[in-house]
Amino acid sequence: MGLEAYVVVATILFGLGIACLITRRNVIYVLMGIEMILNSANINFVAFNRFNGDGMDGRMFAIFVIILAAAEAAVALGIVLNVFQLFGTVKPSDVDLLRE
């Protein structure tokens, strides 16, 4: 399989992530959408690393992204719980304090 195929998969996964992020009405889905996007990025990193043979940069990036995702998920869930406590809802459209 060529690089092209991996990139296509990554792109579609990215699109799905975006769609999940913007269409679902639950903060959890927003989180999941972000995870998909990160995963699509990871596929790209690893694939390009493999096909361009550029040392270990791509892999290292991927590892870093995974670490980041872990950290992000932990913090984000903390925020979700807080938001739920504060607003009594997890619908992002109801959480619009930023507007104030």
Partner: protein, 738 residues
Amino acid sequence: MDLTFNPETDFKWLLAVPLIPLCGYVIQIFFGRFLPRKGDWLLTTGMAVTMAITVWMAFKAIAATQGGEGFFHESLDSDFGFRWLYATEKGATDPLNVTAGILYDGLGAAMLAVVGIVSFFVHLFSTGYMHGDRRYHIFFANISLFTVAMLGLVLSDNILFLFVFWEIMGLMSYLLIGHFSHDPNSHRIKQAAAACKKAFLTTRVGDTCLLVGIMIFYYHFQTFRFTELWEAAQTTVAANGGEYPAWMTAAGLLVFGGTVGKSAQFPLHIWLPDAMEGPTPVSAMIHAATMVAAGVFLLGRTYPLMSPTVLNVVTCFGTVTALFAATIGMTVFDIKGVLAYSTISQLGFMVAGIGTGGLGLIAGLFHMVTHAFFKSCLFLSAGSVIHGCHHEQDMRKMGGLRKKMPLTFLAMLICTLAIAGVPLFAGFYSKDKIIQSAFMKMTHGGLLDGVGLFAYAGLLIAAAMTAFYMFRLIFMTFFGEARDHHVHDHAHESPAPMVVSLLVLATLGMFGGKMWLRDFDLMGAKGTWFEGLTSEIDDGHHGHGSEHEGSVGEAFSIDRMYPGIAITEMNTYVGDSAEHFQESLHAGHTWAMRGSLAVALGGILLAVFIYLLKKADPAKIAAAFGEMYTTVANKYYVDEFVNATVIKLQMVLARTFKWIDENIVDGVVNGTGKINRAFGFMWAWFDSTVVDGVVNGVGAVTNMTGSLVRLFQTGRIQQYASLAFGGLLLLFAWLFLA
């Protein structure tokens, strides 16, 4: 005592002159209220020391002149200066640096002594007059700092530092005029508040002109130092074929603008009468003797830069002011008001005198010196009267006070005689010479000079009026019956410090003129001490030396005032032949003398006739003049005119610009916001149909009433994410499709 000027030590003494009151100020402003007697003794003692130094230095100047030498010292010659803008890297010669030094010449010596003496006595007077004031210590601090600025102005050797001190004086004048605007017990609290602002702003207009003038001179000459400016002007004029370039005329007029503001010349005189809201000692010192004279002093310092056109303008402004203020002075009933207009009028005399050039320059500066003594004495006397009458200022309520306040009356009478131009009293000598100079200008070159004619006639009339209104003041206040018994019964002589100050200043006002005379020659034919300081007396190297050896004629070679600068070649008398010159000198001497004697006498007699003998009712005379009287009594409506035009225009401009700012400039910003709101609507539409997004968004967007915030901020992270994604797509599209 050694009376030769020693640059090594004496410049340090001179530096101490402003520094002593400055230290006093610093102590007073921080600790004054904790000191016994609120610190007045401290500052007054300091001023006594200052006065002693100034007088001592002045004696050195006199001694030098009587030895027949010139007297002109610059501290920078002995490398004694203050590098202002750069202290280390830039040398003193770099045009970017301003090195301030002390210029001590005859004019400076005279003025410094005057300021020292008047300031000390005003301090002394104030210890009595201001007693019990709510802000007593602040008052002393302020007049002290004012004195510092005035002394610094006199001593400064460059025009930029002169400007610096000039403006600091403006600030102190502002604070002192507004002194009573902090006092809840004062019934004129609002007027004082308005007056101080008006004073500062009006003079600020003139000051700005002066600043621009300084800039223009700097641009062409690349220096601020007076001596270098004079030389550069001389070189420039010589290079220009003896003609003044047009820019010098413009710059000269702008510099004169500074004088117009500070010395209260028409049309910027409007602040000075209002400035009488300040305490009387302040009026005496700042608004009679020193600060307003600074404008005249400035003219003296910049005289070699002035082109003939400028000098003509100066003459006209001076004469108009002298006349104009004198007419108003005849109609005013406020005792300080009369003196205020009299001050404006006398300043007009000085300015006009300087404008006539040559002899007039000396005469104008001389008048500045004599006027400082008698006018400060007059003001202090008026203050004494007001103090005695429990802050009553209306002359119509006074009368018959001479028995109640004999010493005040004596002092005031002497000074009135002096200002009226009665021979033997100080004012006569100086005023007479001004008129003589105007006459000479009128007849110079055998032709009738229009400006000279105007000056001669106008100044004579003004002198007559001066004599009239000053005696009117004396008669209304001190003679006749007591008009208001309440005031009269409670009137009393002032305490000792005040009376002492009055009498000393009156003495100076009486003998001041004569003291300047070298040998008590009554008519001053031998020239005065003052001329000795400022002009070359003993030789006739300009070819005019004839039977009038050592006479005023030599005033034309103002060699000692501007060493190395050939003023003769540059002023209005260019082209005069020696014969014409002598003729006009003779004639001027005679005619000026006759004229000024006649008008002084006439004015006094008229005052005696109307106010002492009461042969005519002033009210009827006033009625006879009708509209004319009303106009004059209302100060020619200048204030009203200025309020209705200049001030109004500024306010209209301010409101217009404010409107533009809020509606047009900011309108563009909010308009951008509105466009974005339109995008917001579009987005909302897109959102609700395509992605079925934020239905509430439409409601929210519709609710955005002009608030820019909400246009951009829906607060919904999903919408933000969509926007970001859209932006990303656009970026890609642009990168790969373009």
